[in-house]
């Protein structure tokens, strides 16, 4: 209960009591001191009295000696007995001793000292007188007068002494009397003083004690009063003492006092709180800045007030806390203001609602005003016209307002008094008449929307029909504008619906779904097709981001999360492919694209999901095929190489050995044998050419080097060089213009044009020298025959035209196939590989090769190369 002890102590109230106590102590000190002083004075007085008494005694003693000496002297004189003389000497010695004592005793009294000085002179004279008494003198003093003189002289001397003695004794007696009086005074006054002082001190102590006692009682009362207040207050009260580390830094607080309210409000019992660290006692208070605040209070020494909300056992509570530094700790008084808060919040909400309502009201008000101002009412009163049986057959227009003029062109005056059959005959056709009759009959008001063709135009009216007397009041409101607006709206809605349908169809066709993701609110909206794409039924499941995440294939999910996190962080556009397991259980490959935008301060990620399952599976199949193809190709190539190369070796030897047949050897052969040998030779030669061509065809695949710009002029120079023999032999005329450069591989282009020129030279007419014309031109893409199916580009077309034997145009595709020969084996030598090689080379260059021909007129080979600048 340290706190309460502290509470009871008021510093300002304590001070006078302390002063009082100090005073009491001072008084007691004074008393003891005074007593001591008094005692000393008393003792001194006693001593002085004794001293005076002693002096008096000594004086008497001294003068007794003198008196004795005198009497001894006189006796001598009288008796002449010399014994008395020695007595005198004895008296003299005794007097001298007494005198000395007296001298010391009265050292402090100058008066007596002066007397003593006189005594010295007188006693000397006296004793000189006495000493002069001896037998010789005595002899002389025979006569009585002399004797009497002598005795007189001694007497006189003694008398003077006695006078002094009397004075001295008197003086001492006076002194004694004084001292006695002083002693008497001391003896009487000292104890009384002490008594008084003691009584006084006692009084003070009594007062102080009674004061302290009454205070103590008051404190007890105050404490119980406070205790009562603290226990019964709604406020939580805590007393917190800071805990410091070695450096004196506050690391936590210890709860040293809590009141009963704490348990009520927080459910934390005193055992849970008192003596515990703040962090242990109130774990829910952590991380609310409370600790820092407390530290600040301690360090600044100033109280702080703060509203803090805590989550206590799942309930949000608000406390208004006051933190006041007290002693070395902090008193924390917290008031539960949750209810206030809620009240304030609901008040705020209420205010807001009110504001909104006000706003709404205002709006409605102004709307109404507008409405009243702009909408036209026609008010009419039709009076029933009955036939003799009482059936209403017509109505008479007894009142109508001026508004009618704007509709019909007639003034109210003109109309009033007329029958509706005259003025508004159409009312009988559109059901209005029946409605009027019904209202008159039943008295039930009706509201009917009706369309009218009036002289001022086509109008829509909302008619309120009320029975009044034997007739109807009709309040007609012009709702033409509203109707038109409604129509527009309907149309707009229809258009929107159509657009949505189109969009949905488009999405469905493209396999797309669009989504919009509100990042902060974590809400997602999606197109119909998006649902379809994910195998969801919109009415049954609602797509959320979490659901989408869960649908991502487990292997892709981390990637998805990472990508999305990165995208959300950097607001970067994303495009990724994920596998998704739809709610229907299908595995789909989905492209997710997304970009970001902000609207009304909110961030959205919008984009599309696209089903690319088919593409991906196609791609996979394609990849598989490519791999298979690559493998096959590799096998084929190695097969080609092995076959061609290894076949060539034995073939070459066959040819070699055949050529080793000398003429002598041949002479030994039969004619048939010789023919066989020639046939073997020819076959071997053909086989050699075939293998060589096959080899070069096979090599085309692995000789695909990087393309670079190659001057076709140089290529043709080379080809002409290589074919120079044949050209000279056939006397061929070859025309080559200035040619452009194309991107390609030198060896292949050489081989291509070598083959083409070789063919042109080979398939010449037997009787003519070949005439070969090379041309080239650059064609724009649209100038190229579409049926060629070339990728868009400009093309360089090189044409090699001859005027040779030509071929059937039907064969123009076939000639580029492997081992395709158009002519009889013996007519032209060849392997049927040349043009196939050409086709392959051109294809390697992303080009196209085609042939045009007419038998007997010649052949034109066209080679297309993509044109690159």
């Amino acid at each position: 209960m340290g706190l309460l002890d502290n509470l009871g102590k008021k510093k300002t109230g304590v001070l006078p009591y302390v002063l009082l106590l100090v005073l009491a102590i001072v008084v007691l000190f004074f008393i003891s001191n005074a007593s001591f002083q008094q005692n000393r004075a008393l003792r001194q007085s006693t001593e002085l009295v004794t001293h005076t008494q002693e002096i008096i005694n000594e004086i008497n003693m001294l003068f007794g000696n003198y008196s004795g000496s005198q009497s001894a002297g006189i006796k001598y004189l009288v008796s002449r007995d010399s014994r008395y003389l020695s007595d005198i000497v004895g008296f003299n010695d005794k007097s001298k001793f007494s005198f000395k004592r007296l001298k010391t005793l009265t050292a402090d009294n100058p008066e007596q000292q002066k007397s003593l000085d006189r005594i010295t002179v007188l006693s000397e004279r006296f004793f000189t007188e006495l000493k002069s008494l001896n037998p010789e003198i005595t002899e002389k003093i025979e006569d009585s007068s002399a004797l009497s003189d002598k005795v007189n002289a001694i007497e006189t001397q003694h008398d003077s002494l006695e006078t002094i003695q009397a004075r001295m004794v008197a003086a001492e007696r006076n002194l004694l009397k004084e001292r006695r009086a002083a002693y008497q005074t001391d003896m009487t006054f000292t104890p009384i003083n002490i008594l008084y002082l003691a009584l006084f001190a006692l009084g003070i102590l009594m007062f102080a004690f009674s004061k302290i006692n009454s205070d103590r009682k008051k404190i007890a009362v105050t404490r119980s009063f406070l205790q009562n207040i603290l226990e019964n207050t709604d406020n939580m009260v805590n007393y917190l003492v800071p805990l410091r580390n070695d450096q004196g830094k506050i690391i936590d607080f210890e709860v040293t006092y809590v009141n009963g309210q704490v348990e009520k409000l927080t459910g934390r019992t005193t055992t849970n709180t008192i003596g515990k660290k703040l962090s242990e006692a109130y774990p829910f208070a952590l991380g609310r800045g409370l600790f820092e605040l407390l530290v600040e209070v301690i360090e600044m020494g100033k109280p702080k007030m703060r509203e803090i909300n805590y989550d206590i056992n799942g309930n949000e509570k608000w406390f208004l806390s006051t933190f006041s530094p007290m002693e070395n700790g902090i008193t924390a008084t917290s008031r539960d203001i949750t209810a206030d808060k809620i009240a304030a919040d609901s008040l705020k909400e209420l205010n807001k609602k009110l504001e909104l309502q006000n706003l709404e009201l205002e709006r409605t008000g102004s709307f109404l005003q507008n409405l009243l101002g702009s909408i036209q009412y026609v008010i009419s009163y039709f009076e029933a016209v009955r036939d003799p049986v009482g059936t209403i057959v017509d109505f008479k227009i007894t009142y109508t307002n001026d508004k009618i003029t704007e509709l019909t062109g007639h003034t109210a005056e003109e109309i009033m008094g007329k029958l509706i059959s005259e003025e508004y005959p159409f009312l009988f056709e559109n059901g209005d008449f029946e409605n009027f009759r019904k209202v008159v009959a039943t008295g039930e008001p009706m509201e009917v929307e009706q369309e009218y063709d009036l002289s001022k135009g086509h109008f829509y009216f909302c008619n309120e029909i009320l029975k009044l007397g034997d007739g109807v009041t009709i309040v007609s409101q012009d709702i033409s504008l509203r109707k038109a607006a409604e129509k527009d709206l309907d149309e707009a809605n229809e258009r929107l619906a159509l657009q949505n349908t189109i969009l949905n169809d488009a999405e469905s066709v493209a396999g797309l779904g669009s989504y919009s993701y509100n990042i902060a609110a974590d809400t997602m909206t999606c197109s119909d097709n998006c649902y379809r794409l994910l195998g969801m039924v919109q009415e049954e499941n609602e797509l959320s981001f979490a659901l989408l995440t869960s649908m991502i294939h487990a292997d892709d999910r981390d990637l998805f999360k990472r990508n999305i996190d990165l995208a959300l962080l950097g607001k970067k556009n994303v495009r990724n492919v994920y596998r998704i397991k739809t709610l229907e259980g299908d595995l789909k490959d989905i492209v997710m694209e997304g970009h970001f935008f902000d609207k009304n301060g909110e961030s959205f990620m919008v984009g599309i999901l696209r089903d690319i399952t088919k593409e991906v599976s196609n791609e996979r199949i394609l990849q598989k095929h490519i791999r298979e193809l690559e493998r096959t190709n590799a096998e084929l190539e190695s097969f080609n190489r092995v076959v061609s190369h290894d076949l060539q070796e034995p073939l070459r030897k066959i040819q070699m050995f055949i050529s080793r047949f000398s003429n002598a050897d041949k002479g030994n052969l039969s004619e048939r044998g010789l023919t066989y040998l020639e046939k073997i030779d020819a076959s071997a030669n053909r086989m050699q050419i075939l293998i060589r061509n096959l080899l070069s065809y096979a090599k085309l695949t692995d000789e695909l080097e990087s393309l670079h710009s190659i001057d076709l002029n140089l290529i043709f120079d080379k080809v002409l060089e290589d074919l120079s023999e044949k050209i000279e032999e056939t006397k061929a005329k070859i025309t080559i213009p200035e040619l452009p450069a194309i991107y390609g591989t030198e060896f292949q282009l050489e081989q291509l044009f070598n083959n083409l020129l070789s063919n042109a030279l080979k398939y010449k007419k037997h009787d003519e020298a070949p005439k070969i014309t090379i041309t080239s031109e650059i064609l724009k893409f649209h100038e190229i025959d579409e049926s060629l199916n070339l990728p868009p580009s400009q093309y360089i077309v090189v044409s090699v035209a001859d005027e040779g034997v030509g071929f059937d145009p039907d064969q123009s595709e076939n000639i580029f196939r492997l081992f395709q020969r158009l002519h009889k084996k013996n007519a032209y030598e060849g392997t049927g590989l040349g043009l196939a090689i050409c086709k392959k080379i051109v294809e390697n260059h992303d080009g196209h090769i085609m042939a045009r021909s007419e038998p007997g007129k010649g052949t034109q080979i066209l080679v297309y190369f993509p044109f690159r600048k």
């Binding site: 140089l714 120079d717 080379k718 002409l720 060089e721 290589d722 120079s724």
Partner: protein, 183 residues
């Protein structure tokens, strides 16, 4: 005592001695596989005596080969023809017969006999060698080289180059360039 049998190549021995002695005299020469010695440049009688004197101690003597000098003369004339632009337009045959004072046919016969090559072939070979040298020097285009060496066109030069060496000028240059890069 050790006994050996000597293996030696007479021609190599001869070449070593000739190189040593004739170089000392400042005379350049070539010795072919058939033991035929050609002295480059003009051979004066005095020089000839020096050579014979120098070679005598080794038991080497010069045996006159009459046509040889004519062949040398032809070669020399051809070199002159190829390196001097003034005379190159003339026909080789006329040029040679005028230069050497023999009919072209006799020169041609003598040349073929000695070198197993026709003068025409030799001229072509030398021309291509000149072309190679110019190509390797760099800075001269094929067109210029063709013109310098009296070819009608680059194509003509290329054709002859290919025919003579089995390679096109381009591949020749490429090979030489690659050789430089690899070494």
């Amino acid at each position: 005592m050790a006994h050996f049998r000597i293996h030696y190549n007479a021609l190599e021995v001869c070449r070593t001695i000739l190189t040593e002695r004739l170089n000392a005299l400042g005379i350049s020469f070539s010795l072919n596989a058939n033991g035929e010695l050609s002295i480059h440049g003009k051979l004066t009688d005095e020089n000839r005596l020096h050579i014979e004197g120098a070679l005598q101690p080794y038991g080497i003597s010069l045996v006159e080969k009459e046509s040889e000098s004519i062949v040398e003369g032809i070669k020399y004339a051809i070199e002159e023809l190829l390196s001097s632009p003034a005379v190159r337009t003339e026909k080789v045959s006329a040029y040679l017969s005028e230069k050497l004072g023999y009919s072209y046919s006799s020169l041609s016969n003598r040349f073929s006999e000695e070198t197993h090559t026709s003068i025409e072939n030799f001229v072509i070979l030398r021309r291509i060698e000149h072309a190679k040298r110019l190509m390797l020097l760099g800075g001269t285009s094929l067109t210029e080289i063709a013109r310098k060496l009296d070819y009608s066109s680059v194509a003509h030069l290329s054709r002859q180059f290919k025919k003579t060496t089995g390679l096109t000028p381009t591949s020749f240059l490429r090979i030489i360039a690659k050789r430089k890069n690899t070494s």
